[in-house]
Symmetry: C2
Subunit: 455 residues, 2 copies
């Protein structure tokens, strides 16, 4: 055992020099985005008014297996990557399991999560296109933080629409973004038509992610030299996040270990898609087999209780239609503290892979997730983000199954981030006042009934 | 330039296997601690009722140059060490300086600072002595967090007395400690005689570090199987923190770089003492020369405006007398946000080294420190702790001097921690409402006048 170190670090020249595009190896490609007005498949050009051109092309690129990482993005990656693959010796010992547990830790940067991997790429392409700045929305604030770090690095303006209730309840996230020079506006605001309209209609509203998206998109399309960027769900984001999986694979190869099982939390799919893509690639090419498990909150179970249909990506129904596992675009997830997993839909890539049987999915309750988070923190040191802790929970469960069967499985999971800005949730858990919210079948059926009749 | 990577990582087997005890190489030893009642020098045994025996011996050990790091402590170190030495390419570029800037980053662990290096050692010796638990005080909360992580690892009870105003204003720090299983009590409490007395005398008081120390010491000495532990100032703490300097030296040696200048922030001295000790060792043995700069806040300038005399280590005047640079034990530092630097005195080791001319000291204003912190964050990614940012400020100043002279100096500084729990201070800075507090000469003279007439 002791020959494998606690932290398996790659050297800087082992950071991947190209992103891996799993779509190139998929026999069944993810279904195309559709124009919500005409129902026609979108082309890259159709996205240019909203997204950077290069990113629009990446969004539509189902063919190129590898896409070079630009040198300036690689230079930035070198400030915080390669991220460590950690052998969880202390957790294994605490569980008394014969399983070997590894986690890829993406939290050792100020954004506190893997979001930076795509933020820096998106900021780079915006800079390359000669833009002045970008707009985005943020809920929990991880994406907004990552983007403000990336835009500060490239000297771009960054306008973040932050859901009003988060803006008020998470002042520290807001201050990190401001420290990096971003303008953070509580949404709905009086800056945009859609914001003013909503404020008029619902005075004193707390806002919602759907509304913040609409404001950010309006701000991007009505200001000269701005585009809109997004931190999850999109194909381009999963592409950039493939660095997680590529490094994980390289580190495992380095120590001669083959993963049996790969576990990740699933919200929009950015982290899970990035982590598993090179492994799924091997499965798609018939080279290897892995057991892949997506973990979602019981409060927002897109894979396990949703339908695989065309649906709107946003609550405001202004964005394109995507074929995905969805709970319906007007599904209102209960106030689960894993803000990053509160999305009604799912990456179209992951949805297709799930439908084709390349991965499993399971859902877990919030209080069980925090119990696992606390157990992990006490033995492995790191205070995990609630999102990441969904993967911890299932990794622990699987390791305990190995204890029963005596199997020494190699379990790999993604530890996407740290929980320093989630202490309100930890406090609720510590005080024993955290609830579990599980939608009823009727809730989900009612929301799904409103999906457009297409595809 | 590109041959030196952004992050110089040592491998796990390059973590030092022994702490370096700089006192062994000092010709003028730090002055002994004195019994406050008799004025007699203390022996190790005199400390046993308060501190663990092994730690008491380390406190008094002026002879052994190296002290082995126990295997269980080394195993814990492997979860978060070696910490990276980072070449600040992006900062150099932003400053346009010919200087080469390096920083040793100690913030990549959940305690968010270097404090864990000593916490795990102190918890280990407590466990080894068969104790049930330890008590301590915490102000800003970094030390309390580190200690709660360390005691959780060894299954010890941990009782933290947290200054009441911090307990209320920093609920998130408190929750991290609770998540690691520590009991956090706002001080003054009703648990101890001294706490009850103070609460009676000053109803509704906000508490102070001096009072929290007194409560923690009382709690340690009145409960069977408990001892008191402390995160800075003590010789034993500087000994444990020598891992910082040893790794820094090893990483520089690996890339063939000799530091010209080493910069660290100075509160009680734990980080600075650890960082510089192997370098000072070379100076003491006449092998090498370095320019060493201690940076302290203008609001609490022990080195630059204090006196080198025997003084009480605590405001409550129950602890031993130490000969050190001090502002007087009843000096009340203004509400500087770098809570970790708000100490009236200074490590006796560093005090002696400073008095003997082995290091310089300078003081900097809080608003200048935050300006440097923000500049650093935007180019180097990491959001630094206010304490650490004192070193950043002076490193930037020195790099800009190099720009004028054209010198390509190798500047090394200690980045002791992250600022995720200091966003209230960042907010004040971002809002332009942060003040600078500088004590008057009269303030300092009045406080110094009350030092005991000794030594």
């Amino acid at each position: 055992m002791s020959e494998i170190p606690y932290k398996i670090y790659l050297s800087e020249n082992e950071i991947p020099s190209a992103w891996y595009n799993v779509r190139a190896d998929m026999k069944k490609k993810p279904a195309p985005l559709l124009n919500p007005g005409t129902g026609e498949p979108l082309k890259a050009e159709d996205l240019y008014p909203i997204f950077c051109e290069e990113l629009s092309k990446q969004e539509m690129n189902n063919d190129d297996q590898w896409i070079d990482i630009p040198g300036e993005v690689l230079d930035f990656y070198k400030m915080y990557r390669p991220s460590p693959l950690v052998r969880a010796y202390c957790l294994e010992k605490a569980l008394g399991t014969p399983a070997h547990i590894y986690y890829k830790f993406e939290g050792n940067n100020t954004s506190g999560s893997h979001k930076l991997n795509s933020a820096i790429a998106q900021a780079y392409y915006a800079k390359k296109q000669g833009l002045k700045g970008v707009t985005t929305e943020t809920g929990a604030g991880q994406w907004g933080t990552a983007l403000s770090m990336a835009t500060a690095y490239f000297g771009l303006d960054c306008q973040v629409y932050m859901v009003k209730v988060s803006y008020e309840q998470k002042p520290f996230r807001r201050e990190v973004m401001r420290t990096y020079g971003a303008t953070v506006t509580p949404s709905p605001s009086m800056n945009t038509n859609v914001g003013r309209k909503i404020n008029e209609q619902f005075p004193g509203t707390d806002g919602s992610l759907g509304c913040a998206i609409s404001e950010a998109v309006e701000a991007a399309t009505t200001q000269e030299g701005y585009r809109y960027v997004l931190g999850s769900v999109l194909n381009q984001v999963l592409l950039h996040q493939s660095v997680i999986g590529l490094e994980t694979k390289a580190a495992l190869d380095k120590i001669g270990v083959k993963a049996d099982m790969i576990i990740g939390c699933a919200g929009g799919g950015s982290n899970l898609g990035g982590l598993i893509s090179p492994f799924v690639g091997e499965m798609l090419r018939g080279e290897n087999q892995y057991e892949i498990i997506a973990v979602e909150p019981a409060s927002c179970p897109s894979f396990t209780r949703g339908s695989f249909v065309y649906d709107f990506c946003d609550t405001g129904r202004v964005c394109p239609l995507a074929k995905m596992y969805t709970l319906g675009s007007n599904f209102m997830p209960a106030p689960n503290h894993a803000g990053g997993l509160r999305y009604h839909g799912m990456s179209t890539i992951l949805s297709q892979l799930y439908d084709d049987g390349f991965m499993k999915a399971t859902s877990v309750k919030q209080t069980d997730v925090f119990a696992a988070a606390e157990q992990f923190a006490r033995v492995e040191g790191i205070l995990p983000a609630p999102e990441s802790s969904h993967a911890i929970k299932v990794a622990i469960d699987e390791a305990l199954k190995c204890k029963e069967t005596g199997e020494a499985k190699n379990i790999v999971f993604g530890l996407t981030g740290t929980g320093y800005f989630d202490l309100v949730a930890y406090q609720k858990y510590n005080d024993g006042v955290m609830d579990d919210y599980i939608p009823t079948d009727d809730d989900i059926a009612a929301s799904l009934a409103q999906c457009p009749k297409l595809g």
